[in-house]
Symmetry: C3
Subunit: 313 residues, 3 copies
């Protein structure tokens, strides 16, 4: 029998059975094969706990809101801003979780501090979902990513997956690596500026799970062998500006190396993009080698499947 | 047969048939003659893309949210703030539109840059509606305005319409002028501080459409002949402070010139007001010569009619 | 027959009949004994009018949103920020209320200025509810508080209620005192730093209603006689920093004085907390002497009862 999740805060919680269970459910969602009032009367709270008032638009949050509404549920959106938190929040993530647990049936949390959602799950009365915790994880994006890979390439084994960009701070690429560790017989290659390499926690987990991986510095050289090229932005807000200047623009896909990518390979990106993919918009949209908008769409179906699992079952 | 809009980004898209079609539909909405689950399962995204985190309340946005809910649909509210956009948004309105198109069924966009919604409509997979684009247009307000004029005065021809205030930066007054160009046999008079005159694009369009217009500097002199006095605020945030000081308070309606306005004439204002209408609140609310709160209410019915047209038909 | 409220802006509007009417209704809500589409088609607007963009999360607002959705209604969330209000809001609370009245069926208002909601109610076309007005009141919290006291202690008479903390600026403690004035045969004790004493308007009202009260400076001395200990935070944002330093940490419940509290007594707190209750989280959550999370939950039922009364009846 398939395992049941109570919360979803990190990729390591999944196993192969559960992964493919979510794929089946997501397929049904994409075929409109679901009850549109499955979650009637249920309330999803989205909690945006960020260090400033400035960053607001999150594709992860937006897709969860849409997923909840499509299944007939309702959404309450809340924000707390760290700047003011000395007075209001100090040590009070527990209180916030208790309040939200009384007023909603599930909460999606985006938080500036790594580990917060896992910690909060210990006390929560309702299912919690991690929509990004500092430099930690964004596991629902990783599930979306491998669902997209499976749909686009037709398999989840014997894949050569290249992960490119800010591997030190990008929580999507961290969650994806942890998730790929559940699927042996794939090979990972990390390509990043020197100062933004994949961290040891992920590497250790891959070794434990006997997943083959390597680091490489010449993107163009390995592009022809890649099945999946996972591009990410340099996380400017998480480093000193001199580090950003050193790293930005170092690894990009543009019109000169795009032809090195095989026709049956796929470029993915969790968005938002900065300058990692320097191709005309019509190429990004219509060339089958770029799958990022399919990936966006798949995010809706995967999140519908997750909400059904966590609230509706 | 009446034309069908796919998007609605500027007044010029309308013609006389379509205008009166929307009037009929809005009438039905005001009489509660509509299916209250017409848009069940549909999601409207409101995108607030502003230069700062400070300006939030928009009557246009609020009325669209209400209109969507009244028709049984749902709303997702999103914001992006330009201040941070160097990292997150550069050149990515296309990405944002694609993401929103995957997660909703229609989007209302308020953007700091003129022309954005028209440009975005070229790639959008869902209907887009312009709720204000920089110094560009706010066409759903203009449709509300002429619906109000028609209801209040009983006709849309042989009208003398005076447009007063910041005609250079006010997108409502620009949209209204473009829309009145579709209705000949009316006469427009522009009254503005010297530094905030109506721009040549609008004037050129009026000439092409053979609409009579003039500029005038003495408001009180022409008030007695006016059928409609359309007041607007000086857009402080769009000009140097010395220009604002020069312009503010130059043209106002107050207790001394209110009596110059005929009993069958109407004052309109798209809100928010600053000091353009210096009358006691009970006069603004109850004197039939001031139609601004009827105008606010009509905004709901017109936007219900627009959502029905763009999503429900 | 029970009195009917049109708006709810201050505790003084309630009488004993109405209080117990709301208790009965809240009981039904807690037992899921309500029609889940009672408010179908109705729209609640939440208006957050704050001096800055930084404070966002309000348990009062969140519980109202949840209450509205649970009863089948819909919610529109709006914010206005005072910083920008010189241009947009000056003197225009009336306009805002008129706009909101055209686009929704009830409005919850949180405003930086005392008395705003009462003033707005004079012109509003829809029911208004005060969710906090500057140093004024938060009456729906007070109703939640006495509902909780009644549930926890089993009576609303012959109680000794201690109110602790920032009694000068805390609107919850002010609303609670006004409300307790409707229930004679209870005794109030105010414990606050010297610079943050309960104000004369409340004291005068208590005297008029012949409610016994006293001020006391030694919390530990009176803890053993208390039935209810109502803790509040020092409102840092409403005083000079030297006043805050003088007041903070002066009156707290911690492991050393917690044992002075009787087993059948209850600690309440309107949240958010800062450092007034220095007990381990599991004590706060599971020890029956601390009722703050029951109080949070009761807030939902009371607000459902209020929305039913103001919109649904």
């Amino acid at each position: 029998m398939t395992k049941r999740l109570k919360h979803f805060y990190e990729s390591q919680q999944l196993d192969k059975d559960l992964i493919f269970h979510f794929f089946e459910e997501a397929d049904k969602m994409s075929e409109k094969d679901y009850e549109d009032d499955l979650l009637k009367g249920e309330i999803l709270a989205t909690l945006f706990c960020e260090p400033s008032a400035r960053t607001k638009f999150s594709p992860t949050m937006t897709s969860f809101k849409s997923a909840m509404l499509k299944l007939g549920g309702n959404v309450i959106t809340e924000e707390t801003i760290k700047e003011l938190s000395s007075a209001f929040e100090a040590g009070s993530i527990e209180d916030t979780i208790m309040v939200v647990g009384k007023y909603s049936d599930c909460a999606i949390i985006k938080h500036y501090e790594e580990g917060t959602v896992k910690r909060a799950a210990e006390i929560a009365e309702i299912p919690l979902i991690n929509a990004g915790d500092g430099r930690g994880q964004n596991p629902t994006q990783a599930l979306t990513d491998i669902y997209t890979i499976n749909n686009e390439i037709g398999r989840l084994e014997n894949l050569k997956v290249i992960l490119v960009g800010d591997l030190a701070n990008g929580r999507e690429v961290r969650s994806l690596s942890y998730l790929l560790a559940k699927l042996p017989q794939n090979k990972l290659t990390f390509v990043s500026p020197d100062n933004l390499k994949m961290k040891d926690d992920v590497k250790g987990y891959l070794r434990e799970n006997k997943i083959e991986f390597e680091e490489h510095s010449d993107l163009n050289k390995i592009l022809p062998e890649a099945d999946v090229i996972y591009m990410t932005r340099i996380q400017k807000e998480r480093m000193p500006s001199e580090d950003y200047e050193r790293a930005k623009g170092k690894y990009v896909i543009n019109e000169s190396n795009f032809s090195l990518i095989r026709k049956d390979a796929r470029i993915l990106h969790p968005l938002p993009r900065v300058d990692e993919i320097q191709l005309p918009f019509h190429v990004i949209r219509y060339n089958p080698k770029v799958a990022i908008f399919n990936q966006v769409e798949n995010g809706l179906y995967i999140r519908m499947a997750l909400l059904k699992h966590l609230i509706g079952e």
